[in-house]
C-alpha cells in the first residue's frame, strides 16, 4: 500500500500521521489537536483530502488509550457481570488501596459495575479444569428478561477457572450474543492474569467497549472504500478492535518504535513513559497529576490524575495545580507544541502563582510568613527533575532518547541535571509509531 495513516486516540488529544510513498519523494503529514475542538472523523477526513489519495487503497492503523482512560476517568457503560454462583461479591474484591499508613478510611479499588448488576450463574469448574457442575442454561433465559428490563446492553462473563475450561463462558456468550447483547468473556482475554485481575479486566473491557467502538465508528465512517483498518494490541496488529484487545496498544506501538534504544523517555501530553529492554513503564511523575498539600510542610504530587477536563490551570479553567502549571510559570513551555500551545492562556501565570502562594500559606507554621510562590515553584520543579534523575540513576543507562511533544521542555532540565549522559531527541509521535513509519 502506498498510503498509510497512523492514528492515536488519547483521552483529550488525537494525533494523525500520514505517509504517501507513491510519489517520487515520500510525503508525510502530521497533526495533533485537542479532542473537543475537532472530531476524529473531521481530522481523518482532512488528512485524507490533503494526502490526495484519490481512489488508491491504503491502511489506517489505530492505537488508542481510550480503553485505559475510560476506566481511569470512570467514563463508560456499566455492564452486567456474570460470575460463578457463590462468588458474586468476590468479583468486587480488589487490593485495598493503601499507602502503608495506618488508616480507618482505606478504600478498595473502584469497580466499574454496582453490586445489583452482578449475577451468580450455577456452574463450577475446578482448578484443574474439570467440570464440577455443568452450566445451568435455563438460568440464562431467566436473566435475559432481567437485563432487558434494566436496559443493560453490555455483559462481562468471568467464571471461576474459565481460563482452564472456557466452554461454559463460550456457551453463555453465544447465548447472549444471539440475543443482541455485546459480550466480553474472561477466557477471550490475552495474557496470563491471576483470578481477580482476570475478572476485573473483563469487566473493565465491557465498561470501556462502547467508548472504544464510538471512536472506531468515527474512523470507519470516513474510511474510503478499499482501505483497511488495523489496531495496535499488546501482541502487535490485529484486524479486530475491541476494548479488551486494544488495551495496551499504545505502549506496544511505542515499545516497538523505541526498541533499538538503550533507554527512551516519552514526554507525552497525557503520560510520561519510560521504555527499556522492550518494556514500558510509567515515569515517577505524570504531567497532569494534581499538586496539593502533603504531610511535609511543602506541597507535593498526589496520586490524583486530573487529566485535561477542565485541564491544567494554564488552560485558564481549572483551579487544580499540576506539574505542567509549574513548568509554565518557570518558563519551560515557551516552545510551540502543536495542539497544546494554542490552548495556553498567558494570563494564567498570575492565577498559578496565586494558587502556589495559597498552598504555601496553608502549609506555613502559625505565626510565620508564607513562602514566596516563585520559591515554591522552584522547589516543585527541582523535585520533578530529581524524581526523573532518580529514575535515570536506577536505569543506569549511558544514552537516553527523548521523545514526545514535551521532550524539548523537559529535556533541557534533564540535560542540565545529568550532563554526563548523552541525550538525543526523537521527533517520533504516537501516531507515527502506530503507522510503523
Amino acid at each position: 500500500m502506498a498510503f498509510k495513516i497512523g492514528i492515536w486516540m488519547g483521552d483529550s488529544f488525537a494525533e494523525i500521521f500520514a505517509e504517501n510513498s507513491a510519489s517520487a519523494g515520500k510525503s508525510q503529514l502530521s497533526s495533533r489537536w485537542f479532542h473537543p475542538k475537532k472530531s476524529l472523523s473531521e481530522g481523518l477526513r482532512e488528512t485524507l483530502l490533503n494526502l490526495e489519495a484519490g481512489d488508491s487503497p491504503g491502511t489506517v492503523i489505530a492505537a488508542t488509550s481510550r480503553a485505559e482512560m475510560s476506566v481511569a476517568r470512570k467514563q463508560g457503560t456499566e455492564p452486567a457481570v456474570l460470575v460463578t454462583a457463590g462468588f458474586e461479591t468476590w468479583a468486587r474484591f480488589g487490593p485495598g488501596s493503601s499507602n502503608g499508613i495506618p488508616s480507618m478510611r482505606t478504600q478498595r479499588e473502584w469497580f466499574p459495575t454496582p453490586p445489583d448488576k452482578i449475577f451468580g450463574i450455577e456452574e463450577r469448574i475446578r482448578a484443574d479444569g474439570s467440570v464440577e457442575k455443568p452450566l445451568a442454561e435455563s438460568e440464562l433465559e431467566f436473566l435475559v428478561a432481567k437485563l432487558e428490563l434494566s436496559k443493560v446492553k453490555e455483559i462481562a462473563i468471568a467464571f471461576l477457572h474459565a481460563n482452564r475450561f472456557p466452554q461454559h463462558e463460550q456457551k453463555a456468550a453465544e447465548f447472549f450474543r444471539a440475543r443482541g447483547f455485546k459480550v466480553v468473556c474472561s477466557s477471550e482475554l490475552e495474557g496470563d492474569f491471576d483470578d481477580i485481575t482476570r475478572v476485573r479486566r473483563t469487566v473493565e473491557s465491557a465498561f470501556a467497549e462502547a467508548l472504544v467502538q464510538e471512536d472506531l465508528a468515527a474512523i470507519r465512517a470516513v474510511l474510503p472504500e478499499g482501505w483497511s483498518l488495523e489496531f495496535w494490541t499488546p501482541k502487535g496488529l490485529s484486524s479486530t478492535g475491541t476494548a479488551a484487545l486494544v488495551r495496551g496498544g499504545v505502549d506496544a506501538a511505542l515499545s516497538k518504535a523505541f526498541s533499538k534504544h538503550e533507554l527512551t523517555y516519552f514526554f507525552g501530553l497525557e503520560e510520561f513513559l519510560g521504555f527499556k529492554g522492550g518494556a514500558s513503564y510509567l515515569l515517577p511523575v505524570q504531567p497532569t497529576c494534581q499538586i496539593g498539600a502533603s504531610q511535609w510542610a511543602f506541597p507535593s504530587w498526589t496520586a490524583v490524575d486530573r487529566g485535561y477536563e477542565p485541564g491544567p490551570m494554564l488552560f485558564g479553567k481549572s483551579h487544580q495545580l499540576t506539574i505542567l502549571d509549574v513548568l509554565f510559570v518557570r518558563d519551560r513551555l515557551s516552545g510551540d507544541i502543536e495542539g497544546f500551545s494554542d490552548r495556553v492562556q498567558a494570563k494564567s501565570s498570575a492565577r498559578i502563582l496565586e494558587a502556589l502562594f495559597t498552598l504555601g500559606k496553608n502549609l506555613a507554621e502559625p505565626g510565620r510568613r508564607a513562602a514566596d510562590a516563585k520559591d515554591i515553584a522552584h522547589d516543585l520543579e527541582s523535585a520533578f527533575v530529581e524524581r526523573l534523575a532518580m529514575d535515570l540513576a536506577i536505569q543506569n543507562a549511558r544514552t537516553v532518547r527523548l521523545a514526545g511533544p514535551l521532550a524539548q521542555a523537559v529535556g533541557a532540565l534533564l540535560e542540565k541535571r545529568r550532563s554526563d549522559l548523552k541525550f538525543t531527541y526523537d521527533p517520533m509521535t504516537i501516531a507515527q509509531a502506530a503507522a510503523g513509519v
Binding site: T89, A91, I101, S103, M104, R108, R417
Partner: protein
Amino acid sequence: MARRTQDWNFSSARSAFIQSAFDHALRELTDEGFACAIVQALDSSVLHLYPTAPPDLATLPQAANTCHHFLKLKSGDLALVNDPSSGSFSLSTFTCVTAASLPDGELLIAARFETPRRLGAKVDEEGVRVPPMPIASKRVLNKDILTAMSMHPAAPQDLVSKIENAARLLFEAAHRLELIARGTPSFNANHFKSYLDDSSSAFESALSRLPLGSAVVTGRVLGSNEQIKLTLELSEKHVQFDFKGTEVSTKVGISELTTLGTCIWSVLALLGEDVPLTSSVLGHFQVSAPTNTLLASRAQLSLERGLSLVVPLLGELVHSALAKINPKLKRAGTAGADALAQLEFANGRVAMLSAAPGTAAIAGESGQDAHGAWNPQLPPSLEKTDSSQLIWTAYGVRTGSGGKGVKRGGDGELIACRLLEPAKLRYFLGRSTARPEGASGGRAGSPGEIEIVRASGTKESLTDLEGLVDLLPGDEVRLHAAGGGAWGELPEADKAE
C-alpha cells in the same frame, strides 16, 4: 557521574523527595503486599516504614536490627527470622533482611511476608521457629538451609518459593537504593538527619489536631476475662500509654513490642494523616507495660490467641480513651480479628480458612466490607485453589452482617468449602464471637460463626470461642466473619425497611 547539587529553598521539599525515593525503591515489595522497613545500620534509626499490621510498627525495625547485630549484614547478604524474641510477632510471618551499601554507611532493608496461619495450644505448635539465620551471601541463596527448613513438619508448604521471591525483590530494592544514592546528591546520610527532623515536625503538626488530655479505660479479654487497664495521656508532643493495673496472665498475652506497635497504629489510624513513619515519629509514643502482664508477656503462650484476642481489644481501648478525651472521635466497634478454621486431613496436610471482619462505621462514613480492622490493605486471599481434599463453594462478603445505621458497619467475609476427604476442623473464632457494638444509635454487627452443612443436609452452628469437630466427605464448612458496628440511628421509616 555528574553529582550536581540541587538547590532547595525548603528542607521539607527535599525530605518529601527522600521519602519518594524510599517509596520508589520499595515499590515492587509493597505492591506485592510485603511490610517493609528501612533502617540505618549505623544508629538503628528508622528511615521508612510500610507496615501491614499493627505489630510491624515496632517489631519490623527490631527484626532488622537484631539480624544485623548478630550477622553484620553486607550488601548481597540475606537473613531470615520469625522468632518472636528477635522481633517477630507470629510464627507464620517471616522477615527477610538485607543491606544496601551507600557511600556513607549501610541501610538495612526488611521485608515481611505472611504464610498460612496455624492453630496450636502453644507457640511451638504454631509453626517452625527461625532465629536470625544467614540464608544468602553475594546474592546466592543457601539452598541446603532452605531445604532443611522446608522439611520441618510445621513449615509452611510454599516457604522456599516465598523466600526466593522476597530475596529477589529485596536485592532489587537494595540495588535501587545504591543507584539512587550514587546519582542523587540529595539522598545521603547528612540529609537523612534533616529528613528525620522534618518528619518529627510533620507529625507534631498532625498531632496538634487532636485535643490534649488524659483518660483511663479498662477492658476484659474474651475467654480469660483478664483485665487491661490503660491510662492514656495526650500532650503537645507525646502520647503516653500507661498499663499499670493490667493483670498478669498465664493464658493469653502479647509482647511489649506488639503492644507498642498496636498503640501507635491505633492513634495513627484515628489521626488519619499521611504522616511519614520514621524513628523520630515513633519516638513521640511512650508505652509502659509492667513485665509479665498480658501486654508484656514473656511466657511461651500461643501467639495467634494473643493476636486474635488481645491486639484488637487493645486497639478498641486506645480508641475509647481518645473518644473519652474528645467525644467526636467516637466510633462503632469491630471484631478486629479474623475468624480462623483449620482443616486437618489424615495425610497430615492442613488447610487454613480465614475470614476477615467488616470494619466499624465512623461519623460520616460506613465501615468497609471484609477488610479487617487493623490491616488496611488486607487483600482477599487468591490462593484458594481447589484440591483433591476440598472444593471452594463460596467466597465473598457475608451480606447484611454489618450493623444497620445512618452509616452501616462493614460486612464480614464469607468463605465456604465442601470436603472431599474426612478431616478434623479445629476452629478459633476468638474475638470474632463478640458482637461489635454500634455507636450513636447505630446497630451492632453480627458476630462471627461457623456453619456446618452436613452431607445429609442437617445444619450445625458453631459460635464458641474455639473447638474441634469431625467432618466427613460431602460436609460443607461455611466460615462467617463478624460484621462491623454501625453509626447513627436510622429514621423510623428506614428501620421498618
